[in-house]
């Protein structure tokens, strides 16, 4: 049997208020009066209460809070990613350390092998020198001889350079002296010229003065 007020939105709203305990007294009265005479709506209300009971079966898992004022908790995927990164970093670090250690060991082995070969070559060379009749090999003597030759060459070089410097200085001194003599001659010539002009001027002045005195004497 259907309800005569199936499309009554107001009644449905009142029923929802009653179902969830939000109805005021007027709404409760309206719904109660309707349910008394409507078996369909009574059955529906009972069914909806049953649905509400069933819905409680679904619960939310309790987990850590996702937001904290002191920080943010990582989601599982982020935590997993972080762990992977840490693991990767640790593996990389361990691998890198191991690789470096192996590399150093290899370099050490190569250096030891090189040193050994050099010593062998040195011994072979000494042996070949010793086999030459009358030859003797003394590294200290050899080095001292080389040093003496180097010193001698250095002294010769210094001597040559000093000689070249002295020669240049002497040439330069000659040029300076010659230039000085030329300049002095030019100064002397100029002074003579000036003296000559000054003498002529003086003679002319004396002549004019004589002429003036003579003319003055005649007028008197």
């Amino acid at each position: 049997m259907d309800c005569e007020r199936t499309g009554d939105e107001g009644l449905r709203a009142d029923m929802m208020d009653v179902l969830y305990g939000e109805a005021d007294s007027a709404a409760r009265t309206r719904v109660g009066e309707h349910l008394e005479g409507c078996a369909a709506c009574r059955g529906e209300m009972a069914a909806l209460r049953g649905v509400r009971r069933d819905l409680r079966a679904w619960r939310v898992p309790a987990t850590r809070p996702s937001f904290s004022p002191r920080g943010v908790y990582l989601p599982r995927w982020a935590a997993a990613a972080a762990l992977l990164l840490i693991g990767f970093g640790a593996t990389l670090g361990a691998t890198g350390y191991d690789s470096l250690r192996r590399s150093l060991a290899a370099q050490e082995a190569r250096a030891a092998d090189l040193e050994r070969r050099h010593q062998e070559e040195m011994r072979a060379l000494q042996a070949s020198i010793a086999r030459v009749p009358g030859a003797s090999f003394d590294p200290a003597t050899l080095l001292a001889g080389i040093d003496a030759r180097i010193d001698e060459r250095l002294r010769e070089s210094e001597s040559r350079q000093a000689g070249r410097v002295d020669s240049r200085l002497a040439g330069w001194q000659k040029q300076v002296d010659a230039q000085r003599r030329v300049d002095m001659a030019r100064v002397a010539a100029s002074l003579s010229y000036l003296d000559g002009r000054h003498g002529q001027q003086l003679a002319r002045t004396n002549e004019l003065m004589g002429y003036v005195l003579e003319t003055s004497a005649r007028k008197r």
Binding site: L48, D54, L55, W58, T63, S66, S68, Y73
Partner: protein, 196 residues
């Protein structure tokens, strides 16, 4: 006695950042729970709750307190869930069955294994039934049944009239009833009418 949401919000807006701790402590579990039921994923629910609080914290200065803080927070979380659900449509989603297999579903613990199995089965059926609802009905059912919000709070959170909330809830419960009956869940069957 602790401060109310309004007092904590006012303190935050006045510069007392630590007051937000109280809001988080009070609402974090419920927001995460709502997000879990919307999305069906514990991880995503945690992300959404985290994101919702961050958004709320950043926008708190502009919160005008015309609605309750909880409604505003639920609105943020609901919108975040809607965004995620929209994005899911274009890519693979985490099925409810998958989550159940990973143990994400908690059910009533009974004294015996048989009871627990029955509860797990019922929980699975309920989840599937809720998941089958249209988005609008599912949101209202979740916010009312599992978050215990008032009709007014749900209306504020979803930005719809209260009458719309009640209509959606009524239809949603009706759909759930049919679905559960089809699954053989006894609780949804109408009780015998009381004798007149």
């Amino acid at each position: 006695m602790g401060r109310t949401d309004e007092e904590l919000v006012e303190a935050c807006q006045a510069g007392e950042a630590s007051a937000f701790d109280g809001l988080v402590a009070r609402w974090e579990d419920r927001i995460r729970g709502a997000a879990f039921r919307f999305l069906g994923s514990e991880e995503e629910a945690r992300d959404v709750a985290q994101e919702a609080f961050l958004k709320a914290y950043r926008s708190l200065a502009g919160f005008k307190r015309e609605a309750r803080f909880s409604s505003w927070l639920y609105q943020i979380a609901t919108n975040l869930c809607r965004d995620r659900l929209r994005r899911r449509k274009t890519r693979a989603t985490v099925s409810l069955d998958e989550m159940e297999e990973t143990g994400s579903v908690m059910v009533e613990t009974g004294p015996g294994a048989q009871d627990r199995l029955l509860q797990m089965d019922l929980a699975r059926t309920v989840r599937r039934a809720i998941e089958s609802l249209p988005d609008e009905q599912r949101e209202v059912v979740i916010l009312k049944e599992y978050q215990d919000l008032t009709f007014l709070e749900i209306a504020q959170a979803l930005d719809v009239p209260v009458s719309t909330v009640k209509t959606r809830l009524y239809r949603g419960l009706g759909q759930l009833r049919l679905r559960l009956e089809r699954e053989g869940v006894r609780g949804a069957a109408p009780l015998p009418a009381p004798a007149p």
